[in-house]
Structures are given as structure tokens and as C-alpha cells.
């Protein structure tokens, strides 16, 4: 269920990159100087950072680290 939810969020965020709704709009100028299309994508980057934070909290592949830890320094088990 969690995997499905994360997949939906990833697909939704991918779709949100294609923001056709601001395609021909420059106004409003956010903070008085940032065209809205540019401000949207700046906010988009922050949203991705938040998504990745969630990923590291709920979907971190810790089993990979524990499997890799069980080796000698030259890479052999």
C-alpha cells in the first residue's frame, strides 16, 4: 500500500513538471520580479526535496546496507 502511494506521488510530481497552466503567463511576478512560471519551478525543486526526504524516511533500502556490511575489506564475504 505504501509502495503504491509513493508511486502515485512520484507520477503526480512528474506530471506536475508539465505545468501547461502557466505556459503563456508571466504574471503575477512573485516577490515583484520572479515570473510565475519560474517561481513555480523553483517551488517544484523544493517539493522534490521534500519527496526525497519522505522516501528516505519510509522507503529507505536499509537491507542493502546490512548485506553490504557483511564483507571483508577486499570486498569478499
Amino acid at each position: 500500500m505504501l509502495r503504491l502511494l509513493l508511486l502515485v506521488v512520484v507520477v503526480a510530481l512528474y506530471a506536475l513538471h508539465q505545468d501547461v497552466w502557466f505556459w503563456r503567463e508571466a504574471r503575477p511576478l512573485v516577490f515583484g520580479f520572479l515570473p510565475v512560471g519560474l517561481a513555480y519551478h523553483a517551488a517544484y525543486c523544493i517539493a522534490v526535496a521534500l519527496l526525497m526526504w519522505v522516501f528516505t524516511r519510509v522507503a529507505w533500502p536499509s537491507h542493502l546496507e546490512s548485506a553490504a556490511a557483511d564483507v571483508t575489506p577486499d570486498g569478499r564475504r
Partner: protein, 509 residues
């Protein structure tokens, strides 16, 4: 000359950090090529980010935005902010774990083991290496151009290129991955600071950005630069395939193996989009804002050339068109703005920030050296015959040879050829990314599927380079059909060929 002196001081610091500051005595291949798989969280994040930022990040992004407007950010920055952290999370972590578990030092070593193949791995190495070489040449060219620009022409292109090539070669030669990683960390801090400082200084010099934006909106010629109405949504969409190339780049894939612990990927995937935002937003915004600087002669010349280019009849001579294109290009627009608005000493520091981004060829040179010594020298018996010390010395010799060859090519060939080659290389690496996905996530994948993908990518890159507009179906970039066809080939060919032994596949479960 003051900015050039500051840049020379910067180059001296870079040399010190790369060669002496974090040197360790152990001379093993793993220490030289992978920093002993021991990089900490801050160095891992900043160095990985810096490794992926090139001259284009500061100079090219502002130049692209100067000509095309705010769309540059969505095409190249926010699409990368979405795709790259996800690929690092899903693919980078797995590669790190497999590298730690099985001792892999390159992606080809993993492919050979995963698909039980030898020469097919060599074919993958050849394609990867061929796609990487243009970057190294562009790095030398970028160094020469930037140093010439910062010194006001006092340092000629050949000398600037030589200075940058020698500095990079020296710290890669002596410092290996550890030296390169710490230099990259220092450089990333420098050019991340560049964006904010440049924005503040230039904004104040221009009398504030709101007035500049209003003046752009008031003109029908410049108002579209603040929207994306000049490009199609399909074209925009196809750019989201380009960042798939990042994890397939050998220097990025190899860098994923250098982390001390897997937990270091956590901060990297979270802060990567923020770092992209911090450097790309100021550069894109400044590039767009430069269109309002009609009182700056060099900007005015570019704008006039752009207008003349737009009004040129379709049957105009190619020389006239090319000459106007060269005049209109905005790759030096940030340098022009700094020259106009920043005091000399600050222009020097900001110039060092630009040099930091330009000198990105270090990790690519090291990656090619690692690939050559591991995938060719060691694989074909060199390591077993001559020992690990000789392997490391071979890697160092390769670094010198590669730099010298890249320098002489950079002196003789026109940059346009390599700019184009780099564009094709992005598509090529994106189309190679199904190799990693299949190796890590699809048990039924086979070496024949991998070979089909590799041959297809080699063919498609050469074909699109030879035939303008090839594979640009339905207004999409060629990277979309190239990547999708790679996926289809991997699946179709794998399903009709025998899979690797169950024991091999189980090790990748």
C-alpha cells in the same frame, strides 16, 4: 589583471587541496580510484553535485536563458531536480551495495558479472568511453575561454587551456579520487556561493530587478522570454528524459561507489534539488534579465544580432547566418554583467567561481582512467601479471596521455563540433540507462539484450549526428525514441535468449 590574479590564487588553492591536503599513503587501486570507499556525507554530497555541474551550468545556462527565457530552468534544472535524486535513490544505492559486496569499481565490472560476459562488457566500455571523451575536450576549451575572458584577453586561449589542463591533470594524477573529490567539494562551495552573490551585486547595479522585468514585459519582442509560449509542450516533456543520462555517466556511477556508508545517499538525494535551485535559478534569472540591459554595448550588439537573425530571409547565405549566430550567442553574458556591475576584486572571486564550474573534467578523466585500468588492463590480465602498483601507475599514465591528447584536439578543432558531440552524448547515456535498470531490477535480462542496447545506442548516436532532425519524431527530442527503443530491445532480446545461471541472478536479488 586583478581578476586573473585572484583566479591564479584559486588555482593554487585547488592544486594544494588536490595534491597535498587530504593525501593518504596507501597505494592500492581502490584507494586511488575510489578514495578507499570512504568519503563522508558532506564531501559525498558536494562532490557528487560538483561532478555533475560543468561549464554549462553557469555560462551556458545563462546564455541559453538569455536567448530562450525562463524555459531554460524547467528544461534543464527542475527536470534534473526530479529525475537525478530518484535515480540516485533507486540505482545509486544498489550500485553502492553491490560494489561494496563484490568489489566492483566500474559499471562494466558489474555488467560482466551480472550477465556472465566478457567481450560484451568491452563493447559497453568502448561506447561509454567514446561518449565521454568530448566532455574532456570541452573542459579544456572551457578553461581556455574562461581564463582568456577573465584576464581581458591577456592570457591567450592556448595558454589558458594549458594552465587549466595542467592543474586538473596534476591533482588527478597525484590525488586520485580523494584529491578530486575534495577539490570538487571546494569548487561546489565556491560556485554555489557565486549564484547568490552575483544576483545581489548585479541586481543592485541594475537598480533592482522589478523594473527590469517590467521593461521586458512591456516589449513584444522580450515579453515571451518570461513565459514558455515559444516552445511546444512535447519538446519540453522530452527534456525530462535527458537527466536519465546522469546515473549512466561512468563518472557518476563510479562516484556512487565512493561513499563510506549508504546512509550518505540520504542527504545527497534530499539536498540535490536544493543545490540545483541555488545555482540554476540565479544563472537563468540573470540570463533573462540581461535582455533589459540595452545601455550595455556588448548586450545591445547581441540583441541586434538576434533581431537581424530573426529577420533574415530563408535563402540567406549560411556564412551570414552563422556570423549572426556567433554574435547573438550569450554564453559570456554573466561575464559581461559582472564586468559592468561588479568591482574588480569581486569580479575576480566570481571569476574563480566560474572557473570552478568550468574545471569539471577532472572526474571524467579519472573515470576514464579507472575504466581503462579495470575494464581493459585488469580484465585482460594486466593486473594479474604486473600487480596492483603497476595498475595504479598505468592509470596515472592514462591520465597524462588523455589530458595531452584532449589539449591538442582542443587547440585544433572548432568548439561547435564538441558542443554538438556533448549533446549527442547526453542522449546516448540516457539511452544506455536501461542497462543499469535491467541489471539491477530485472532477473530475466541477458547479455544479448545488453549487447543489443549498446549497439543500438552506438548506431543511434552516429545516425542522429549525421542526419539533422533524425529520430525527432512528433516534435520530441531524439532522446525519447532512443531510450524507449533501448527498453524494447532489452526486453525483446532478453526474452528470446538464455538467462544467466540462477546462482548469478540470486546474488543480485
Amino acid at each position: 589583471m586583478i581578476p586573473a590574479l585572484i583566479v591564479f590564487a584559486y588555482l593554487a588553492i585547488v592544486l594544494y587541496i588536490g595534491i597535498f591536503a587530504f593525501r593518504r599513503t596507501a597505494g592500492s587501486a581502490e584507494e586511488y580510484f575510489l578514495a578507499g570507499r570512504s568519503l563522508g556525507p558532506a564531501v559525498f554530497l558536494l562532490s557528487l553535485f560538483g561532478t555533475n555541474m560543468t561549464a554549462f551550468t553557469i555560462l551556458g545556462s545563462a546564455g541559453h536563458a538569455f536567448a530562450n527565457g525562463i524555459v531554460t530552468f524547467g528544461l534543464m534544472a527542475s527536470s534534473s531536480a526530479f529525475v537525478i535524486p530518484l535515480t540516485l535513490f533507486f540505482i545509486g544505492t544498489r550500485m553502492w551495495a553491490l560494489g561494496k559486496r563484490h568489489g566492483f569499481m566500474t559499471p562494466v565490472q558489474m555488467f560482466r558479472d551480472r550477465w556472465e560476459c566478457g567481450h560484451i562488457g568491452t563493447a559497453i566500455f568502448v561506447v561509454q568511453a567514446a561518449l565521454l571523451v568530448p566532455y574532456i575536450i570541452i573542459g579544456v576549451m572551457g578553461g581556455g575561454t574562461a581564463l582568456r575572458g577573465i584576464s581581458g584577453g591577456v592570457i591567450p586561449f592556448w595558454l589558458g587551456g594549458a594552465i587549466v589542463a595542467i592543474v586538473v591533470m596534476s591533482y588527478v594524477f597525484f590525488g586520485g579520487m580523494r584529491g578530486t573529490a575534495f577539490v570538487n567539494t571546494f569548487q561546489t562551495v565556491l560556485f554555489l556561493s557565486f549564484g547568490a552573490v552575483a544576483l545581489i551585486v548585479i541586481g543592485r547595479g541594475m537598480g533592482g530587478f522589478p523594473a527590469a522585468m517590467e521593461s521586458l514585459l512591456a516589449s513584444p519582442a522580450t515579453a515571451p522570454l518570461l513565459t514558455r509560449q515559444r516552445i511546444s509542450p512535447w519538446y519540453y516533456f522530452s527534456y525530462t528524459f535527458i537527466p536519465l543520462s546522469t546515473i549512466a555517466f561512468p563518472h557518476i556511477a563510479i562516484f556512487c561507489l565512493t561513499a563510506k556508508r549508504m546512509v550518505q545517499f540520504k542527504r545527497t538525494v534530499i539536498f540535490y534539488p536544493i543545490c540545483l535551485l541555488a545555482i540554476w535559478l540565479p544563472c537563468v534569472f540573470l540570463g533573462v534579465a540581461a535582455n533589459s540591459l540595452r545601455d550595455v554595448p556588448r548586450v545591445e550588439q547581441k540583441l541586434e544580432a538576434r533581431a537581424a537573425l530573426a529577420a533574415l530571409p530563408a535563402d540567406a547565405p549560411a556564412e551570414t547566418r552563422n556570423a549572426l549566430r556567433r554574435q547573438a550567442v550569450g554564453d559570456d553574458i554573466v561575464l559581461v554583467m559582472l564586468e559592468r556591475f561588479a568591482p574588480l576584486w569581486l569580479a575576480g572571486i566570481l571569476g574563480a567561481g566560474i572557473m570552478a564550474a568550468v574545471m569539471a573534467s577532472d572526474s571524467q578523466i579519472l573515470a576514464l582512467s579507472t575504466m581503462f585500468t579495470e575494464d581493459v588492463f585488469a580484465f585482460y590480465g594486466g593486473k594479474a601479471r604486473f600487480g596492483e602498483q603497476v595498475q595504479v601507475q598505468t592509470g596515472r599514465l592514462f591520465v597524462v596521455l588523455l589530458t595531452v591528447i584532449a589539449y591538442f584536439i582542443a587547440l585544433r578543432a572548432p568548439q561547435g563540433i564538441f558542443d554538438l558531440a556533448v549533446q549527442y552524448a547526453f542522449s546516448g547515456y540516457s539511452a544506455l540507462s536501461p542497462l543499469l535498470v535491467a541489471a539491477l531490477f530485472w532477473k530475466r535480462s541477458t547479455k544479448w539484450g545488453a549487447l543489443a542496447v549498446t549497439l543500438w545506442v552506438a548506431f543511434a548516436v552516429m545516425y542522429t549526428a549525421q542526419v539533422p532532425g533524425a529520430l525527432a519524431w512528433y516534435g520530441l527530442l531524439p532522446v525519447v525514441p532512443m531510450t524507449l527503443i533501448s527498453c524494447v530491445l532489452m526486453v525483446a532480446v532478453s526474452l528470446v535468449t538464455p538467462p544467466p545461471a540462477a546462482a548469478t541472478v540470486a546474488r543480485y536479488g
